[in-house]
Amino acid sequence: MSNQTSPARTPQDLNDAITGGIGDSPLRPDGTLKVTGEFAYSSDLWAEDMLWGATLRSPHPYARIKSIDVGPALKQPGVYAALTHKDVPGENIYGLKIADTPALAEGYVRYQGEPVALIAADHPETARRAMEKIVVDYEVLEPITDPERAAHDDTLPKLHPEGNVVRYQPVICGDPEAKADVVVSDVYTLGMQDQAFLGPESGLAIPAEDGGVDLFLATQHLHSDHRQTARALGLPAEKVRFTMSGVGGAFGGREDLSMQIHACMLALHTGKPVKIVYDRFESFFGHVHRHPAKMYYEHGATKDGKLVYVKAKMYFDGGAYASKTPVVVGNATSLGTGPYQVPNVKIEGWGLYTNNPPCGAMRGLGAVQPAYAVESQMDKLAKALDMDPVELRQRNAVEQGYTMHTGQVLDSPAPVAELLQRLKDMPLPPENRTEPADVRDLPGGVSNTTHGEGMVRGVGYSVIIKNVCYAEGADDYSTARVRLEAIGGEPVALVHSAAAEVGQGVDTVQQQIARTELGVERVTIHPSDTQVGDAGSSSASRQTYITGGAVKNACEAVREVLFERVAQRFGESPADLSLSGGKVVSAVTGVLADLVDVLGDDAIEETREYHHLPTYGMDPEAGQSQRVHVQHAYSAHRAVVDVDTELGLVKVVQLDCSQDVGKAVNPDAVVGQIQGGSTQGLGLAVMEEIQVKDGKIRNPSFTDYLIPTILDTPPMTVDVIEKADPNSPYGVRGVGEPPTISATPAVMNAIRNATGLSLTHAPVKPEHICGS
């Protein structure tokens, strides 16, 4: 057994000499490492005597496993292990919300790509070839592929013991039978989007001398992975140690387990370090996707454009396992009116089991789908009323103090109408192009498909609401340990949390908070691991809020200890003291001492948690709740498009965003989040869809699943406003998700504005525009 407990390239302290507190935009502490190629991503890890793991996956969406024979694989030279469900040491079942997912298939496979067996070998190609030698005898079954049918047809086989409905949730308020002057309705469908993070799933498991295992991995939530993995391994928590390695993007796709249990099983079985790295093809099967949805929406309004009612039925295809399906249903129904005042509401949401690819978390969880339907409806209603679509939205916009259809009062600023106005006031790109036009600016680009003929321009708006943090009674707290000490004659703070830096910049934010709270310049970020308390997930736009709050709390606790010490020594009142520029300052007597002198050889270390306001579940009959969500966030987009109506090609010319972020802790990073999020929303509007037929993915590659390139992405003006939330640390409001949500319907509305088509499916494809 290897004595090594850490890989050759290890996650490391980040302590570049960078300055900047709250409200500044300091450089990333991992920036230098990332531009030199030195940053240790989980796929870059290596250990002496390391083996490569590979995963045999089901070729069928639904089948009964009659037998598995790993014998022929084990006979291959270079193969060290071939494992099946029989080798799962602990419980062969896990899941984020509902434990329904086997680590390795047992009895049945319920989706194409479900893990069935594992190989460890001395070369990745040896592992792959050995995998092909495993003999699995399947009895292929008829897959369930229609989620709407799964909701209502009791004659279908039950994919799980509780049936095929993961969650049904209605939200009812006012009089759902109310009548209105003008009524618009439609059925909207949204394709399955992939997170398409660039760094595929990967990690390195190293067996430890205590019979446990160390896993170095890329994830959004260390402690969630850790709990689920320890259970499957049948090991006590302390014998399973997880350390965050470099994460190549996440966007929700790393909330569920992928290779975690598998790599640990192989390492424990072989006694050698085992690395698993998915390739892009496998990655499409190795993580959950965004729930595709079918949404029936009907809006009623008065002649002068006041909303009277909304009725909606939404079906979310969760695929084979539940993952975050219950949360998607909760978010979608509780946010299903959009950011609008509607007195009468009946919204119903179903999350279903099918044999389609499993769906779960992706940026904008459960809000992307209804926002796209509602914002499409608002444009349709504006057309029916012959009213300006922005004016219609502003006339119905929620405000602070409004009671949502769930009964929750919006208790912090809700500048919905203002965001729209700010966008409307931004200059539009010029209509007239330079002659001759540069084809790179036109639909079809360098394919040279148009020089302007058959081309029409459109402008579209949207505004959305999204919850921040976990909801419906979850206590997704975070923990931070802060240590203040003098090193080399300089005060240094060390911040240790399990918050997942997935690229969004939470490491930078933690440093900024510590600098501001402790008045020091040097702040080192300890690698995230399970040796400190839970930080919750890097999702739900929550890390700056919650882990930011924990770092703030821990810094305050450190400061308290320090001030007690100073107060005793100098006879000052702790209440009069503050920290600035590495000095302790008294409001009464001025600078008292250098922090370094006060600290001496005694470090001060404190660990604190941050818990958000309590939330409560939605009642099962009418979806009412005192507080479903911790916080709401709002963003608005305006898209300008050129459409080649003959070929159905779309060029997004401009995509501008106005968003309230409460307080921009790092203004440059906020803009980066908004631009990146907007681009993912653009992708969902015009190109991104996992094509699923009969339960099988038809386009599992970047050749066939398209994400926006730099040529597809337009200039984006970002307008950030800061209306502090009195409940959150520094007044912050979640930033990451909203722009992804509002970009999609803005682009869709712009294409509708250009073409006059109703376009009920996102993403829009050429055949939707030219009808053939």
């Binding site: 660039l198 966007f251 690229g503 969004q504 590659s701 040529l711």
Partner: protein, 206 residues
């Protein structure tokens, strides 16, 4: 098989290379140079972009054997590569470096032979100077998760080598083979513009 080629100015030899192994695999797994990233393995994402005899290529699509006897520059060698190009340009009076003494690669044989790996302090990231494009990526906020960054840096550096002041359309076209999922590309454009502007200042100053 055995493959011999030059990586970042240093002669390298890889033994027991499988016929199907890509240049990317050999760089990452046999030479300890994991800076080039594997994100799609079919030439769609550009994360593995390296210079092969000066030409930017997706190293995942180059069979290791094809690199025999050739010069490869990866993100790990980009700073030195840029510095040597700068020195060569200075000596030869060529602003872009594209017309340096060593053909398309921009690295002279003498310079290549003098090249040696400089340790970067893994604790601080300090010790290695950054190339202008690397510095600009950090400052402009063009790096988030960073997985696309190595390939983008190699591609953007090559663009600035042949086109000192590219238009936005030029930048977009040159970088259209490099996918980024985090940034929405705006800050990547900012970074390339910044590096180009600084390059122009340097030329003016000299």
């Amino acid at each position: 098989m055995r493959v011999n080629f030059t990586v970042n100015g240093r002669k390298q030899e890889a033994d027991d290379v499988w016929e199907g192994e890509s240049l990317l695999y050999v760089l990452r797994e046999r030479m300890g140079l994991p800076g080039s990233k594997n994100a799609c393995e079919q030439g769609e994402c550009g994360s593995c972009t390296v210079r092969l005899d000066g030409v930017p290529v997706c190293s995942c699509l180059v069979a290791a054997g094809q690199a025999e006897g050739r010069e490869v520059v990866t993100v790990e060698g980009l700073a030195d590569f840029a510095k040597q190009r700068e020195q060569a340009a200075h000596a030869g009076g060529c602003a872009s470096g594209a017309c340096g003494t060593s053909g398309t690669s921009g690295t002279s044989l003498d310079a290549a032979q003098q090249w040696s790996a400089k340790g970067t302090d893994s604790q601080t990231g300090e010790g290695g100077d950054l190339s202008p494009i690397q510095q600009a990526f950090i400052e402009a906020g063009a790096v988030q998760c960073g997985f696309c960054t190595p390939g983008l840096l190699v591609a953007a550096d090559e663009l600035l080598e042949r086109e000192a002041s590219p238009s936005d359309a030029d930048i977009r076209e040159a970088l259209s083979g490099n996918l980024c999922r985090c940034t929405g590309y705006e800050k990547i454009l900012d970074a390339v513009r910044l590096a180009a502007a600084r390059q122009a200042e340097t030329v003016e100053a000299s």
